[in-house]
Symmetry: D2
Amino acid sequence: MRFFSDNAAAAHPAVLEALGAANTLDTAYDGDVWSKRLDGAFSELFEREVRALWIATGTAANSLALASLCPPFGGIVCHSEAHINVDECGAPEFFTHGAKLLLADGEGAKLSPEAVEEVCAGIRNDVHQVQPRALSITNATEYGRVYTPDEVAALGDVAKRRGLGFHMDGARFANAVAHLDCSPADLTWRGGVDALSFGFVKNGGMSAEALVFFRPELVDATLYRRKRAGQLFSKGRFLAAQILAMLKNDLWLDNARAANRGAAMLGQAAGSRLVHPVEANEVFLRVTADEAAKLRGLGFDFYDWGPGEARLVISWDQDEAAIRPLADAIAAL
Amino acid sequence: MRFFSDNAAAAHPAVLEALGAANTLDTAYDGDVWSKRLDGAFSELFEREVRALWIATGTAANSLALASLCPPFGGIVCHSEAHINVDECGAPEFFTHGAKLLLADGEGAKLSPEAVEEVCAGIRNDVHQVQPRALSITNATEYGRVYTPDEVAALGDVAKRRGLGFHMDGARFANAVAHLDCSPADLTWRGGVDALSFGFVKNGGMSAEALVFFRPELVDATLYRRKRAGQLFSKGRFLAAQILAMLKNDLWLDNARAANRGAAMLGQAAGSRLVHPVEANEVFLRVTADEAAKLRGLGFDFYDWGPGEARLVISWDQDEAAIRPLADAIAAL
Amino acid sequence: MRFFSDNAAAAHPAVLEALGAANTLDTAYDGDVWSKRLDGAFSELFEREVRALWIATGTAANSLALASLCPPFGGIVCHSEAHINVDECGAPEFFTHGAKLLLADGEGAKLSPEAVEEVCAGIRNDVHQVQPRALSITNATEYGRVYTPDEVAALGDVAKRRGLGFHMDGARFANAVAHLDCSPADLTWRGGVDALSFGFVKNGGMSAEALVFFRPELVDATLYRRKRAGQLFSKGRFLAAQILAMLKNDLWLDNARAANRGAAMLGQAAGSRLVHPVEANEVFLRVTADEAAKLRGLGFDFYDWGPGEARLVISWDQDEAAIRPLADAIAAL
Amino acid sequence: MRFFSDNAAAAHPAVLEALGAANTLDTAYDGDVWSKRLDGAFSELFEREVRALWIATGTAANSLALASLCPPFGGIVCHSEAHINVDECGAPEFFTHGAKLLLADGEGAKLSPEAVEEVCAGIRNDVHQVQPRALSITNATEYGRVYTPDEVAALGDVAKRRGLGFHMDGARFANAVAHLDCSPADLTWRGGVDALSFGFVKNGGMSAEALVFFRPELVDATLYRRKRAGQLFSKGRFLAAQILAMLKNDLWLDNARAANRGAAMLGQAAGSRLVHPVEANEVFLRVTADEAAKLRGLGFDFYDWGPGEARLVISWDQDEAAIRPLADAIAAL
């Protein structure tokens, strides 16, 4: 049983069905009926007018968002362990034409307002230093930690005061919402977020994320950037249809809840082995090399996460029956 | 009946079936079994060792190819009507970090060796001028014209003599091969081509093109550029599976032949109205505004292509029964 | 006697004196008293509030201006023979992060409003094509032709109507003003120019041009771009001092008048051999290879300018005595 | 008396004289006799064949060097307090098209081989992470610390083993050589350095640094990049002449020795107040706010360097008579 990554899981059957249903002649690019429904669908979900674009990968969604918020000569405050800093091969630098990531730290890959302020305060306001122009957080974080609406709003206040555009990398946004049982609006624009990379691929999608702008004026330049980056698909309806299938009847939430439940079950089994509280669908364990080998010997695969730690990620399609054996094995270590 | 673009057509059922078959857990990105089969499948097709990457769009495939062949301070010789110049919103400039397209002309959007030489000869060999470093042609061209293996080889000779990397935009490569009934090898690397954007999306695919390198050493940097451009899909197996389905039993050729046949039928009906000889799946007609309106009145949709011209593009799924009424209508004008 | 280029000439003694006078301790970068005088000096010259930055080279001044007027995904309409297109090794593409030069033609490297309109009209207003965002003209042009205030204003009208930023490459702005005997204001902002590269180096300066913004809000981003491009000199006072010396007592105009006079003398001698009317300090002659060789045999050096043409450029320090022998030699051909 | 920065000091009279001597007609750009002497002059100084280019600013020299050593998708290991990271407004990112600075720490802004190894070892060798491709150190460092030839060689070994290009920011290279009394060759290429930004502006120059390549094959691309960055001066002889004047009779060494002597004098006076050992021309002191105010009250100006610290920089033209009063004042605190 594999617990490497939610990236590796299958797509939900409803997503494949949607592809079949969209497999007719329609206008190319984003002129089709599916693509045209995105703005409305996300506006409803977020309880206000938003603009939403399909983007094929989370890396591209993040980078396009950042390019819309930060000029080439600006800086983006983010956590040193943020995906945009350590796992996107410099995509933000590519799309922004060389903006600089300004790194802060914080437990569980979470940024506090104080940490953001400290980074900003350490930068002289002159042309010799890259000035902060945007803030990016990941919710849920790379360690499965979740920012609450209040925490987002506190960061939004810093962003506003400092004149920073505010981006949320929501590769696991669904898991955060599922954990908090809050409204998507409360977790984003009501807290000052300007642009959200709303992930579906890790949550049962196939090849479509949404880039949601809460400041509609950011869309125009992004449409050109999307094309220019080779991200405007000829048959965009196949991306839009996936997203609409995920939104329908809150499939995105159901999937996230399922994954979160699995993680919680493992978390309970892990007890004091936990490196981080389990809030989303990731579980980080303290295990010795022997213990890790033992688990692998039982057929469980996962990543080592530095010495003495292991990362287990639960997917939308791993139900209690799939998780239980691993939970038992962990408890028995 | 719509003749706007082969971009707008449905995907072939085999492509959708392949997605279903690939919908299992596997390694993320391009570590899965489908992705790993690409090098072998294309090496077989091209009768030599090649490296092949899935890329989601033709624009990205072209631009990644060009970035592998031309430094930021170099120039790319291409036709003034090349897709990379007029329809990609500056994607080549984005991926190459500002390389310059050096424009040549030629009938039917075809470049002759002389035209390429003339562009190169007009550039002083000093640091004040962008030096040509790559050559890019489209086969079949944006006007449905086809370069023969001999014509490719003649351009390959110029490229070699001038030290230019040689790229072929093969968004409609299948249509060119189908028209010529030649080997893919003869139309590419045997004529000096270094990198080919092998198109599938216009030919019954959904969202996967192949970038084929005949100089394997170009691949390494491209792997980083692909990731950095947000083009490395988490579930890459869904792209690889599409391509493998298209290659299986020469589906790519069958589809292209079908589309070419439809275009030929229209070409015959059009007679002296043809702006360009019909060699692939595109037909350019001289029609008055009244004639165009008449055709549209009969239910045929297409693009005006400058004053007094119309462009009709045939898709893989438009068979004789679908084409005949339009052919008759054109003949009756 | 060399007539290759005004680039090759010596600097005016007043410029060297100014360097000596500025050779004291002062604040680094542009915090010194000389640099701080630029805004005022140019505001007086242009009869309105302007912002002016020293920039070491014309290429950098042009490119920084264009980067302030055009986003990476935009296009810059210019003449196909503009210096920014053919003699700056892609600097505009570098500074703008890949904006595209959209080329128009016109006699003597001059653009007409109609030519600009034609380029713009040929671009579909969709995301697949690079949209025009800026217009750049050279005054005097690369062929020594001069735009009048009315001609500038007519282009400014097009720019305004089309929403284009308007840049003037004034590497030989002084020669244009000297020829027209008009006010600098009439030739620039009153005609809609947003940013001017005001050249001094070809006109007796050593290593300082001025970038003048008539829309002060463009300055802020440019200050960062200047630093980021390695163009913010530690001892900026030495650039500012040069410029102030050139402005003092209209030395810039005197120098340009002297050069223009020399060119006019050659133009008169050349008569029907002239390829372009002589309006600034450049003379383009029709000469056979034999005639060119003869002139060189007499000790006159110059560039061949394509087959059967020669370019002669007069510098600020070539007075009548220096020009007369060449004029006589041309007349005697 | 100002101790803000060696950037603020006057240029040495020999530099101004050289400008006067070069103020004649000569070939433009770098075709003049002065520019052509650079390769030879630096080859002699470095006891091997090198290629040397004039570059107007240290920021540009550093960035051009880095662009020659690191692709856009690569990383540059450097100290977190390196000038390229904190004081160049993202110039390395601009010139390299978005390469990433990979930060290490170390006392006095010095990098140890272990620190470089640690950064490299922390990066997975896959396409998701920016791979290290270059190493950049500053000698003397931003805190006036000096790498010895052995220390450089140890870092060169890491660079070689890891396949990293090796750049030295030598804005104060002269001060390092003067301190060590070693050969420039021992401090650079014999230790594995590939490219050196050899600074003159902080050491009595006006507006010219040298970029020295110990791997001549790196020059060709750099010549294009220099032009493209607007760094190729029309009258390049004025830059070359400055550099040649600095090299003549070891003026560069004399100036650096003078500045180092002044700093040493202050260092001695400062005693236990020193934050870093004084090895070059910078002195970092622990002073209370009151003490700093007292020094300023006596007419000494300098930068606060974080709370409780002050930075004093000595210039080539501050002799013992100029330094003594400050030394006494510090001793008397």
